[in-house]
């Protein structure tokens, strides 16, 4: 085979390379800063874990079956709260997502929508919880509201990304039919996004079952309160039972949601 030398790389590749090197240096610097200034005593951490392992882990694996009744009841309560909360969030998130998607309402609305969603996401659960307790009292409904708002931020972001990825050619085809904006929404946009929307909403439901600490704060009972008390009392057996309950419930939901997703996609 004759020797052929490759043609020189195009000019902008050179600029790109410089840019990449700059980024690489920045990233490396970031890591060096992170790892040098964070204060972790590795030796101690390892030694500690060896010592504590048998104190904690075996107990987690021998769940306290005596707590089964109480845990199941709390779990059931949590499931209802999470269901109501995430469904509410799924509904509120839709208009916000349309606002935030850059291919729907125009650039400026999109920026506003994205800011609203980020602001919602920046709000700590704790403060949401306080606000809703104040609004409707310490009860499950406050938990529903707190979960709904907490989930809206994330779902809205996910939804808007789905909307941004739809096939705009179909929208164009509807335009060419003489459809107006609302008709386009219902005929070209919604059919494309509904399966993904549902799939994320179900996923969020799963997450919300685990977002239980917030429920403890608002006095909504549920599994969150039990977690905090089990932790404070260092009751690892009970914690094991709680974990088991969560695992079972989430697994069931995961299974059911996989089935539903298969149906709708």
């Amino acid at each position: 085979m004759d020797q052929y030398s490759l043609p020189p790389k195009p000019k902008n590749a050179f600029m790109k390379r410089i840019r990449n090197i700059v980024i690489a240096i920045a990233v490396v610097a970031l890591y060096i800063w992170t790892f040098t200034s964070i204060d972790i005593d590795w030796g101690r951490a390892i030694e500690r874990s060896l010592n504590n392992f048998q104190r904690v882990i075996p107990k987690l694996f021998s769940p306290d079956w005596g707590a089964l009744g109480e845990v199941s009841l709390s779990m059931l309560e949590t499931v209802f709260i999470a269901f109501a909360g995430s469904l509410m969030a799924a509904i509120i998130a839709v208009p916000l997502a349309f606002l935030a998607a850059n291919n729907m309402m125009g650039k400026y609305f999109s920026i506003i929508g994205k800011w609203i969603l980020s602001a919602i996401r920046a709000f700590p659960d704790l403060i949401l919880a306080i606000l809703f307790v104040v609004a409707v009292g310490p009860n499950a409904f406050a938990g529903v509201l707190a979960i709904a708002i907490g989930s809206t931020g994330m779902l809205g972001k996910m939804f808007s990304e789905i909307i941004e990825s739809i096939d705009m050619q179909v929208v164009e085809a509807m335009q060419a039919n003489g459809a107006n904006r609302i008709q386009i929404l219902f005929y070209a946009v919604l059919p494309q996004i509904i399966p993904e929307f549902l799939s994320y909403a179900i996923y969020r439901f799963e997450v919300d079952i685990r977002a239980s600490s917030i429920l403890g704060i608002v006095g909504a009972g549920g599994i969150g309160t039990m977690i905090i008390f089990a932790a404070n009392n260092r009751n690892w057996n009970e914690m094991g039972m709680i974990l088991l309950a969560i695992i079972v419930v989430v697994t069931i939901i995961d299974f059911a949601s996989a089935k539903i997703r298969q149906k709708i996609v």
Binding site: I130, V218, G219, F229, N233
Partner: protein
């Protein structure tokens, strides 16, 4: 019936009635249809339960109205809920009470009696082999406490040390007197930190070690108590300022009557570790208020 309309008027102008912080005089008095009790278990106790059901049932019987008990895990939430009159009766630790009183004029009516006392103390825990014998030895050491919002874990010991060693601010205490501090999230964690050697002294309620005996069988020998703080008033039962005076009086009597009721006292004991219930006044909490006042500005970063 009648209270319904009162609540309505209350909520229609809820904005101004609730925003007048700490003013007790002119707010309308009411008896709720359903009495809501909020319960934030004090971490300064060795067992905590997550239910208030038996107590609520009993009260409901006695009062003839519905009573709901809600256990909450954050006292900010409870304080705010009492401020908005969503919760009428609060079982709050001393520090939470002080905040609620200051912010929303919540009043203490009763306090818990534990181990025959209406107060308890915080303790300084050190390793037995550490060579620390007096509070003065703590200088330059590492201090573990659970949470800055804890009366026994932080406020009282910090106050005591500052007075004893003439320190001006918490800042000075933390960075000049002690070499280092760590916030652990729980009394048990603080004690473990000392046990494991991560810290030299932990300030906890008395006596956190009993909690740990199961997991750390040698904890009693390995950790000793260096000393105690002043007396700290126990958990309160407090009511919102909107609650009708006569109603509050009735409530107080019912609670006090539990002292003579074997069954009830057993419930209180099992669930919250209370031996008895006693009357309490705001003055008893003055000491906490003073301490808080001292720290409030220090804590403001």
């Amino acid at each position: 019936g009648g209270s319904d309309s009162e609540q309505d008027t209350d909520t229609s102008n809820g904005e101004d009635s609730a925003s007048e912080e700490g003013s007790t005089e002119e707010s309308e008095q009411m008896i709720p249809d359903t009495l809501v009790m909020g319960f934030v278990p004090s971490q300064d106790s060795d067992t905590i339960a997550d239910t208030i059901e038996p107590l609520a049932e009993r009260l409901s019987e006695e009062l003839g109205i519905e009573v709901q008990g809600q256990v909450m895990t954050n006292y900010n939430a409870l304080v705010e809920a009492m401020g908005a009159n969503q919760v009428h009766v609060g079982f709050i630790p001393a520090f939470g009470y002080v905040l609620a009183n200051e912010q929303y004029g919540v009043e203490v009516i009763l306090k818990s009696i534990r181990y025959g006392s209406g107060t308890y103390k915080a303790q300084y825990v050190v390793r037995a082999d550490s060579g620390i014998e007096t509070l003065a030895d703590l200088e330059g050491k590492i201090w573990a406490y659970n949470d800055k919002g804890s009366t026994s874990g932080y406020l009282f010991p910090a106050n005591q040390l500052m007075e004893e060693f003439g320190l001006e601010s918490a800042e000075q205490l933390e960075s000049e007197f002690f070499s280092h501090t760590m916030e652990t999230g729980g009394h048990d964690n603080s004690a473990i930190a000392v046990y494991e050697g991560d810290a030299d002294v932990a300030t906890t309620f008395d006596d956190v070690r009993t909690e740990l005996e199961e997991e750390y069988p040698d904890v009693m020998e390995k950790l000793t108590i260096l000393g105690y703080t002043e007396e700290i008033p126990n958990d309160t039962i407090s009511v919102t300022k909107e609650l009708d005076d006569e109603f509050v009086q009735k409530l107080k009597e019912i609670f006090l009557s539990f002292n003579d009721d074997e069954e009830m006292i057993q419930i209180m004991k099992d669930v919250y570790n209370w031996d008895a219930i006693d009357e309490a006044t705001d003055e008893e909490y003055q000491i906490v208020k003073d301490t808080y006042a001292k720290f409030k500005d220090n804590i403001e970063l």
